[in-house]
Amino acid sequence: MIAIVNYGVGNLFAIQNVIRRVGGESIITNDVDEIRKADKLILPGVGAFGYGMNQLRARNLVEVLNEQVLGSKKLTLGLCLGAQLMTQQSEEDNSVGLGWVEGKTVKFDDRQVPVIPHMGWSDVEFVRKTSLTSNLDEARFYFTHSYHFLMKNKNDVVGFAEYGYRFVCAFQVDNIMGIQFHPEKSHKFGMRLFENFVNL
């Protein structure tokens, strides 16, 4: 069972819909026990970084997530804002993140990109083979974001995309995976990614 952590942000039904389509089972929940019982976690999210952190705190989810992700090493996939929250901090409202991975979330350099947000499909180059990203050569994914990851360690980087310049769009540190794009809205490419996650 995959627990999709519900902290009041993001298109959770779309995520559940794809997981169902690829044969997985998931539950949308903010219940501490359900999160503890789940085999894997998805931390979804769209919107502002500070708002997202506040919503996690308001639902008392930070502690149980730390315990499950850092303590029990549960396989955890962050999507978009959910993945950004895994970093140490964000330039957006200068907020502090969960700090599960060494890196931060920074705004697109507006001198180098046509318009912000980056909204649309981009080709993704996976530079590191992981089980999550297998069978995804020549994949394209849907993005919608104004901020992106900046990872401290090169070895944590899994994939790059390009918008004005090359930026990290996927990382993995042990059991913690984060992706900037929206696989739940990326047709067969996203389905394959979720299938990989279900089968991990």
Binding site: V9, P114, G120
Partner: protein
């Protein structure tokens, strides 16, 4: 290679998918769920769904239909039509839609637009701007399916929507709607000069060559209706969408 978004627009009138000409004379083109399944199979970049059912027959969004459409889609969806309150927008997002498209509400319920933007982020809010040329050749913003003129001129209109917190503009040329004469590139340029959020050009597309012209004029993406529903010289209804190879060879 630079990708840009190519977006089919699905208009819904009383539960049926339709195509219009200059916002008039809706012609039935199919069942919306069936159309969505086909757009999904064709791996379209994104889909814009606009319910144009008249206010007399429909006062609130059709959540049942929206939820059904969303569960059949594995692509980004924008939805517009009959949205006046934050609560309505929330229900639509909870159906599995990621973008709320506002038209009349931009002027009549501006606080709703800002609330949605604050709550879900700018990227979730689309300003659907309908523009028609008046007899002097000037662009005039319209609401209520093109029936009512708004009092703001174009620079004022742009300033107004940016202040509300919209993340992108779906720029519809009423004159070109369904006419397949190509995009109104002057209209795109006019808005591009004033705006630094993405513009999706809509109205008039006839071929993928038209897409490139709209992008050159400053659009970040292109949208079309008739072109994706009709095929051949007899305008047979057949949902179509360019494949990746064609796009890579011809436009990206």
């Amino acid at each position: 290679m630079k990708r840009f978004r190519i977006i089919p627009v699905m208009l819904i009138n009383e539960g049926r998918a339709v195509i219009t000409r200059q916002f008039k004379k809706p012609v039935y083109v199919g069942d919306p769920i069936n159309a969505i399944k086909i757009f999904n199979d064709k791996e379209v970049d994104e889909l814009v769904i606009l319910d144009i059912t008249s206010k007399r027959t429909r006062q609130a969004p059709n959540y049942n239909l929206i939820a059904k459409m969303a569960s059949e889609s594995f692509m980004p969806l924008a939805y517009g039509g009959h949205i006046r309150t934050m609560n309505q927008a929330e229900q639509i997002i909870n159906c599995g839609i990621e973008k709320i498209s506002f038209n009349t509400a931009l002027y009549e319920y501006p606080e709703t637009v800002t609330q949605v933007s604050d709550r879900y982020g700018k990227q979730s809010v689309v300003a659907s701007i309908d523009v028609k040329k008046n007899i002097f050749g000037n662009f005039v913003g319209k609401t209520n399916n093109g029936r009512k003129s708004i009092s703001l001129n174009i620079p004022q209109l742009v300033e107004h929507i940016v202040k509300l917190g919209v993340g992108e503009v779906l720029l519809n040329s009423i004159d070109r709607d369904g006419m397949r004469l190509g995009f109104d590139c002057t209209l795109i340029e006019t808005f591009k000069k004033k705006l630094n959020i993405p513009i999706v050009a809509c109205g008039g597309a006839d071929s993928i060559e038209d897409f490139s012209k709209a992008i050159e004029a400053g659009a970040s993406g292109v949208a079309a209706g008739a072109m994706f529903y009709f095929k051949g010289s007899f305008n047979a209804i057949l949902i179509n969408y360019p494949d990746q190879k064609t796009l890579k060879d011809k436009v990206y």
